[in-house]
Amino acid sequence: MERKIGVYLCECGPNISEKVDLDRVKKEISSIDDVAVVEKFKLLCSADGKKYLEEQIKNHNLTHLVIAACSPKEHEITFMEVCENADLNPYLFQLANIREQCAWITADKEEATKKAIRIVKAAVGRVKYHSSLEKKEIESIPDVLVIGGGIAGIEASLQLASSKRKVFLVEKTSELGGLIKNFEKTFGDMKSATELIDNKIQNINTNENIKVLTNCEVGEVIGFFGNFEIKIKTTTGENEPIEFNVGAIVVATGSQLFNPEKTPQFGYSKLDNVFTSLEFEKMNLTKNITLKNGKTPTSVAFIHCVGREEKGYCSGICCLYSLKYASYLKEKLPKVKIINLYSDLCIPGKKDEKFFNEVKSKNVDFIRSSDVEVEKNKNQLKINFKNKEGKKNSILVDMVVLAPAIEPTIDAVKIAEITGISQDKEGFFAEEHEKLNPISTSTEGIYIAGCAQGPKNISETIIQSEAAAGKILSSLIPGKKIKPEVKTSVISESLCIGCKTCLTVCSYGAITFDETKKISVVNEVICRGCGNCVAACPSGAASIKHFKFNQIYQELLEAVK
Amino acid sequence: MTKTVVINENTHKGIIEFFKLLLKKEKVRGVFSLKKINKDGDIAYSLITDPDELNEAVPFYPLMPVNAGKLLSRFTLKGSSKKPVIAVLKPCELRGFVELLKRQQGSLENLYIVSFTCGGVYPSKLSLDGTIEKNMNSYWNEIKKGQIPNDLRPVCTSCTEFFPYTADFIVDLIDNKEMDKKLEIFLNSKKGEELTKDLDIKSLENKIDQQKLDKYLKKRETEKEKIFSEINKKLNGIDGLVDIFGRCIGCHGCSKVCPVCYCTLCEFDSANSEYEPSNYDSELKRRGGIRAPPGILYYHLGRMTHIGISCVACGSCEDVCPVDIPVAVIFKKVGESVQNMFDYVAGKDVEEEIPLVTFKQEEFVEIEE
């Protein structure tokens, strides 16, 4: 095929022409084989410039185009569009940067000119080996995957679902509702938690645009914003995995409690009648607040800040739910003595101090303490502590309820691996920016909501879920087109020997293994063209479009000759 | 009568002078020849651009480390050089190159070929302990006398195609009593004539002594008969083949060095030739046992089928075989048989099409009956 390469040198009026003798460059380049025309122009990126280029391409029947101008970051797309308008495949074009990488950084004009000549020669050498490539366009998928069926996931689902947007709500247990299902009431307003969560679940179940997948876990996530390929597996292991595609993901996997066995001084799991807050909630919900021997307690101590020192942060909700527990007790067992042992009180919200005063007024003790220890004392529990003056003290109670720190769930590591989002030092999912963007993650299209991101109460969770929904609603508009990478990897079927080295280095999960043919196959839609596989393949069976061996080799050869 | 150019100098020195002249006058940009590449005197093909480096060149050395036809194919595969290059090839190397040209694996553009009537080469192993160097004088003495030296590659002692048909320049070494005094180069093509047109070199006219060459041919034919009858005794059916190729380790070195084997990925290395577990199962059922890896005879017979028509009997395959299988003699025999069926000599004429891919309506009618 006869090549006609057109080379256009931009004066970049006068950024480049000031420092580079473009006439000399023109002379040198004109003598290269296959170069049909070399011209200077004042400003190629201007409207006049673009029109000029289009005419030149058409008039000279150019097969390839080289433009010597600024950085590709500035105008590669501009000139690619020019090619398209002139019916020249935009990938048969190479932009030689003689501005940022030459004119702007070389003081001596002679040196700059020599360098510019090399750079343009290299671009011409390379472009000879370019192939036409077709741009791809696929429609983004408006649907959303919500991982976690607690209040965060439920709220996000309800906000997102519509006739144009399906929501897949995946929950690993057999029921929706998460932690709230264990509560009788919510703190502060002391309204029925059961009603709250049952209503929400009812709304989910009657919403035909939300598909609920209980007893399910996310097995695989590959892809990118607008096109994630999801594989769900059932926890019972019986059925086939479920596969579907979504455009965005909300991770709302919630939290669990710090295990007080790690702080043995509180006697958890060693002594009878020492419970965690969640265990107490469950007892209360079943209206069965009893001691191990079946009797009702006459005195209950709430120990706050369990695990706070170990974790290094305040979970922010424990003081408030302790107040709630005090209310539960006062209602069900009015005569019971209630003592709170705390190291700091955290009562921040606009209504919470009022709640605190209400509870305190019902004869509930609050003692600031440190070095708290629980030991057995006949049928009771003796709590030793130091008061705020540092003096040793002790009390005897029937029951102890611990308020352990909030931790990310045990599944967080697995989810992070599967989705590719990062965890912070505490194991919560890392937000993009602590202050300015606590909902997005480093992976575009994956958002976090609820305690999965950090300890928070129900209203804060609702706020975050709605925010995540908002982000998705505004950016993942149904019908939006996404343009996958054109310069993707290609693995030769006849050359691949199936060693899977490329698979181990692909960060995007874009390579799968065909077990029948025993070869690696690239998913062109998901491939980002990073080139790891090409570097790793020992035999060279993998190559990247537009960065083929010959293209790079010839460019280098011309640059160093 | 053919035009010649003459340098009154020992042939081996004269050819160097000739090349130096071409380089200095910028008639060529490079000379391709065997050369001593280090102080130990190891010899390899080299592309020489500096006339001084030519002092180490040994163009007629009786060694073929690699078939140079294959090398020229690599040199010109991605396009000919802009300026001319001149290369010294042995006749079988040239024929190998011609067969490759017929398959689009190179180009003659800007390439001049020097060749010679060839006395044969030694197996490469003999270069390792200095045997060849020790034999140098006796080798050339035999050649000058029109005799066949000892210890050469079997396919060389039995080679009947020692005349380089398509070369631009021919040096007649065999039975050349004037080798020590004079270098005479026959200009065998217009191209060759053009190149030497205004060189400061004596030009004459002469005729190649066909009678002398026919006499030598007879000697070689006698050797060929001997070698063929010996190998025939072993080539009796499958059992014979199993005996000969039994120790083959499947390294495919023969294919790699063969000038005519040009496929980037050989069929017998590709996924098409791999055995699936079910293949092993069925073979075990049939015969109770199967060699692993399998397909040794299949590979050799397959290669014969693919390249037999173009085998130039250079002997590189036998040299490289780590288990000393007489591959070259076998392929020479089979190759010649196939080529005879079509009155074809591999590499003799670049215009002659490869018989196996040329359709002729009237051909082998007797087989149809």
């Binding site: 069976a541 | 192993k125 120790r247 075989c321």
Partner: protein, 373 residues
């Protein structure tokens, strides 16, 4: 993990016959369906690996042949690369062949699920060219060498091999340090133990004497190995010496083709990427006045090293296959020792150990980073 107890078998006529009888017994009991074992060629000039199902064919086999014609891992790979099939197979291989088979399993080139890997104390193998010069003579010499456990005639890399009794397969036939009329079967995995139990051989022998003898030999070899490598390094170190070492190389690539761990279908150095155009070659020639053709011989060897050095098992097949008698194995084996040591890796030691080159560790080789400070 090697078990401390082994099963003993009496050697009646010869070790070879004892092993064959054992295999026949195992096939009879349907413990496995077929065996990969070396057999002599019909022309009696070499040995080949055969997958045998018919136990009548076993009598022509030889579990410890004098030469390594094809690296056994290649035989295992050709049979299992495309899947494990239905047959249960026992493979009798040298220790380095088993190691290579394990390395290949890490890159999907062998499937060891249905294979029981059986090794034995290895006396080494003769260089193939020597054997071929007079097979009858060398067969006898080999047998004598095995008797005395003397490896002077073996491949250069065998002579300094300190893994000649390395156990990384499923069962090991032990002969060193034990009475000549006995042989131990040492299990190294549950597969191996299973096999021995099914053969109704009680695991009651103490293997201390074998371990002691193996350690003694290994330490002696280790010293010799270090010295040999030191001398070799002086000889080939530096680019000029290295190029000289490979000056006779004709780029036939036999070494790569017979290497068990060079598994690429099309080697990078045979691909289009090393094929350049005439102008490039001429430009290169002009920089020095002449260019060896084809150039880049050393690049092939160094490139091959960088691709496979971490998996090299020092079997020596490359050197036997070189038509120009270049000491390829000696060079590659020496470099492999050093590259593997860098990662505390021994190729083929353990199937679960990933090849360092594709195992990412955030904290690794920090000392290399410091060089740039």
């Amino acid at each position: 993990m090697i078990e401390n107890k082994a099963a003993a078998i009496t050697i009646k006529s010869s070790m070879k016959n004892t092993i064959i009888e054992l295999l026949e017994k195992a096939i009879n009991k349907e413990i496995f369906d077929a065996v990969i074992i070396p057999m002599e060629t019909p022309a009696k000039d070499s040995f080949v690996y055969v997958l045998v199902k018919d136990k009548n064919l076993l009598k022509d086999s030889n579990p410890l042949p004098p030469v390594m014609f094809v690296q056994g891992a290649k035989a295992v790979s050709s049979i299992t690369r495309l899947g494990e099939g239905n047959l249960k197979i026992a493979a009798i291989l040298r220790p380095c062949e088993i190691r290579a088979a394990i390395e290949l399993a890490k890159v999907g080139q062998t499937n060891l699920d249905n294979i029981t890997l059986i090794s034995m104390d290895c006396p080494g193998v003769l260089p193939y060219p020597d054997f071929l010069s007079d097979p009858k003579k060398y067969k006898k010499l080999f047998e004598e060498a095995v008797e005395k456990w003397d490896n002077k005639l073996m491949r250069p890399v065998c002579q300094i091999c300190n893994h000649s009794s390395m156990v990384s397969g499923d069962i090991h036939f032990a002969t060193l340090g034990i009475n000549k009329d006995k042989m131990y079967l040492i299990p190294n995995s549950s597969k191996g133990k299973n096999l021995i139990e099914k053969l109704e051989l009680p695991l009651k022998e103490n293997i201390e004497s074998w371990q002691k003898k193996v350690k003694e030999i290994s330490e002696k070899r280790h010293g010799k190995r270090k010295k040999t490598h030191k001398d070799l390094k002086t000889k080939i170190g530096g680019i000029d010496n290295f190029v000289d070492t490979f000056s006779n190389c004709i780029n036939c690539h036999n070494c790569m083709r017979v290497c068990p761990v060079c598994f690429c279908r099309l080697c990078y150095f045979d691909s289009d990427k090393v094929k350049h155009n005439s102008e490039d070659y001429l430009d290169r020639a002009e920089t020095k006045g002449s260019l060896r053709f084809l150039p880049d011989t050393s690049l092939f060897h160094i490139g091959r090293m960088s691709h496979m050095s971490l998996s090299c098992v020092s079997c020596g097949s490359c050197e036997d296959a070189c038509p120009m008698a270049i000491p390829v194995a000696q060079v590659f084996s020496m470099i492999a020792d050093e590259t593997q040591e860098l990662f505390n890796y021994v190729s083929g030691r353990d199937l679960k150990e990933p090849i360092p080159l594709v195992a990412y560790k955030e904290e690794e080789l920090r000392d290399m980073e410091d060089a740039h400070d």
